[in-house]
């Protein structure tokens, strides 16, 4: 473990809340966008989710290195880049904060760089800034996934859109 990794590992032991992890991501310069049910919650929908879903760039080696450094003490195996045949497209970890899922792509949404440019900052209930997929992209992703459990999310996002609040 090098000096930087030791620093992150020490930092991790002090992370109690998910907010602390988001702050560690920001400090390390991790590129991510929160998606899924937890993003819906930060858009103002009273909703439960047991997962924290993240969209991350699929082949940014430096970003994988940063993520693996920050989460070294939680991961049994490191996060890996997208393989040539689509391997590692979704990677799931059980952590102290719940289940963390890293998605290297999601249906209905442009490539990561474009999604990141359109991304929005939302705040947790504790006021921590979190980078989220934009509202229109979140709606597009939910529509593309078209799972029964996405219907309520779609209804809520479409209502935000109707009110001109979907950013």
């Amino acid at each position: 473990m090098n000096g930087s990794e030791t620093c992150f590992a020490k930092l991790l032991t002090s992370l109690h809340l998910m907010d602390d992890l988001f702050q560690a991501f920001d400090k390390a310069g991790v590129r991510y966008l929160l998606i899924g049910g937890q993003a819906m919650r930060l858009f103002g929908m009273p909703r439960y989710s047991m997962d924290w879903d993240f969209l991350i760039p699929p082949r940014d080696a430096q970003n994988f290195s940063k993520l693996n450094d920050v989460l070294d003490a939680e991961f049994d195996v490191p996060l890996e880049m997208l393989g040539p045949n689509g391997e590692n497209f979704v990677q799931t970890y059980q952590t102290r904060w719940g289940v963390l899922q890293f998605h290297l792509g999601i249906p209905g949404v442009p490539r990561f760089d474009a999604a990141e440019s359109a991304g929005v900052i939302r705040q947790t209930e504790n006021g921590t800034a979190v980078k989220c997929l934009s509202g229109p992209n979140l709606l597009a992703a939910k529509k593309a996934a078209a799972r029964p459990q996405d219907q309520a999310d779609i209804e809520f996002l479409m209502e935000l859109q109707r009110l001109g609040k979907l950013t």
Binding site: R41, P46, D76, V90, G98, H103, T124, E125, L160, K165
Partner: protein, 62 residues
Amino acid sequence: MKITDDYKAKYRLWAANPRVIAASAPPKLPKFASRKFSSHAEMNEWKRNLLREIAHVTASHG
């Protein structure tokens, strides 16, 4: 029609006044190792099985 008869009413109420509710504590799940999937379909299938397993464990413990 009463507002309670309109199942979409809640979305209008929530969207008119969006509020971030506190995140719930993570559920107590059976311990599992990290998993890597090649598609969302593969991941969703694994998740369905995990939820089924949790339901069976919960049911067997009354």
